[in-house]
């Protein structure tokens, strides 16, 4: 086991899967000669050649649709959207084509495509380049939506996504690329899609989080521990299909929950988790479910203003203290 960054973990997953299966290839804006806008595919163009590492025009509609079509006809494309903000342009290709063909054609067509997309706020990129729209994509049956919060999960989940026969949207929070963690070297190390994971045990409150929210939640949990409050942190890892098992198991132990997400609070992940808890764990509820999420504003450029709108450990701690 080596301690590597999430960027390296994603790079390793891509390289290993490309070596394992020659039908796996990469396409997207600046993935080749440039080496990837976030340097995830640096060196791939030289290593695998132009056929398997394909630079595309800046044209998200056809990146989404052509990747889906290639997948339907037997390949395993990993299509990269430079950022998830640009995937809005490919929304129809993703949710109305990739996510529909299997069901709509009675199981006759498979679409084993992976869409990778970095996203998230906190980098002073302004309102249009800072979205965390994960929940919008997770709304649709037919698509699997994954967003890892640790390097090991990033590697294991991306490998599972590439091997999956279903379309997967793989969302990488751009501020996590430098996050370091232990990652197994095993080339068949897989993390199953659709399985939530307890990242920290505790008995006083359940904090449900994922992606960058997981880092915030873990930070808050460590600070709370110093004050004698032991939080259990459950990492969703996959938003669809959603695995409520570990969340409910934890809640039945702590009777209280805080949901942390970087996206907006309205109609968000927290709303869904809170609804599920009251539907499936009503008898265990000791307090209202709290939600910590992005404030309802377009993200501004100026650093302090932007940070004020985003989630952070103090806001999680405050929410926990309101119910514990």
């Amino acid at each position: 086991m080596a301690k590597i960054t999430m960027r390296q973990a994603i790079t390793d997953a891509l390289r290993e899967e490309m070596k394992r299966d020659e039908n796996v290839f990469i396409m997207g804006e600046e993935v080749g000669v440039w080496g990837g806008t976030y340097a995830v595919t640096r060196g791939f163009h030289e290593e695998f050649g132009e056929k398997r590492v394909r630079d595309t025009p800046i044209a998200e509609m056809v990146i989404g649709g052509a990747a889906a079509g290639a997948a339907m006809n037997g390949l395993r494309p990993v299509a990269e959207f430079m950022t998830i903000n640009f995937a809005f342009l490919a929304f129809d290709a993703i949710v109305n084509h990739a996510a529909k063909v299997h069901y709509m054609f009675g199981g006759n067509i498979k679409c084993p495509v992976v869409f990778r997309a970095p996203g998230g706020g906190g980098r002073q990129l302004g309102a249009t380049h800072s979205h965390t729209p994960d929940v919008i994509f997770a709304h649709f049956p037919g698509l699997k939506v994954v967003s890892p919060g640790s390097p090991a999960d990033a590697k294991g989940l991306l490998k599972s996504a590439i091997r999956s026969d279903d379309p997967v949207l793989f969302i990488e929070h751009a501020t996590l690329y430098q996050l370091r963690g232990e990652v197994p070297d095993d080339h068949d190390f897989l993390v199953p899609i659709g399985v939530s994971d307890v990242k920290r045990e505790g008995s006083d409150v359940t904090i449900v989080a994922y992606a960058q929210g997981l880092s915030v939640a873990m930070d808050a949990a460590e600070q709370l521990a110093k004050e004698g409050i032991e939080a259990e942190v459950v990492d969703l890892r996959t938003l669809r299909p959603l695995d409520m098992g570990p969340v409910l198991d934890s809640f039945k132990k702590t009777f209280k929950a805080v949901v942390v997400e970087e996206g907006y609070r309205s109609y968000g992940i927290g709303a869904e988790i809170a609804a599920r808890i009251q539907e499936e764990g009503f008898d265990y509820m000791d307090a209202p479910i709290k939600r910590v999420a992005q404030l309802e504003v377009p993200l501004p450029y100026s650093a302090d203003l932007e940070q004020a709108a985003l989630i952070n450990a103090p806001r999680v701690i405050e929410a926990v203290k309101e119910i514990v």
Partner: protein
Amino acid sequence: MDKTILMDWYRQMVLIRRFEQRSAELYQQGKIGGFLHLYIGQEAVAVGSIAAKAEGDHVITAYRDHGHALAVGSDTKFVMAEMLGKATGVSKGKGGSMHLVDVDRHFWGGYAIVGGHLPLAAGIALAEQYKETSNAVLCYFGDGSTNIGYFHEALNLASVWNLPVVWIAENNQYGMGTSIERASAVSELITKASAYGMEGQRVNGMNVMEVYDSSKKALDRARSGLGPQFIEMITYRYEGHSMGDPLRYRSKDEVEKWREDDPIGVLERHLLQVLELDKDSLEAIDRKVEKEIDEAVIFAEESPLPAIEELFTDIYVEA
């Protein structure tokens, strides 16, 4: 052109027309739901171009897809069963009229979002190029979809990557009720293809023999590595865009004028006058087709509806 081949094209075109006429009746009886887009008037385009394809070539089209399904040779019974939403339908009753499919015959389906399948066609062609086969893709779309972003992105990518796609614009003069002159900056669609470095052919889409020749030429060029090809088939739909179209946007005279060039009539005249076929042989084909349609309707009507459990199958390959 060989007489037997032309007679088979005649059979296919009559089959499509009778299928569409019967579908319209079934729609009016409430047995077909949703939208129903009839291919009447355009039969020569699907029949002539699909006749030019090699076995491994692919077909993908928009929502006016019944003609393409029948032309690739899908069983009329299973296609009709899909129209009626039955478990025996080509998409198990989950797709309906706009989403027919037959992957065994390399027919990737009808797609109901205007332009949405053009990138899929590019991707299907990319997979063939990647696997180093000589298969090409026939991708059909209406004139209306040449104004949407998907069209431009897909044609551009296909040229940049030299993909073996034959883009077939079925120019039936109207995108729903808006004429091409009112919707497109240029009314000759091959002009748009030239912007992406493609040579285009502008073809009389009411003449199945001309459709075949142009398609064959384009497919040969695409499969030999000359990159994507573009054909504008000039054609016309006699019926409305969908059922319940008020047809306020065109005159009856206009429709009647196009009927003089009816694709079935054009081929019939060729068979009778040029090849001196006797009328009885064509009537025998007509009767055979009527029987096939009758049997398909009976099969579809007697087929079971999908079981309610089917609601939750095929959402994912892996649960």
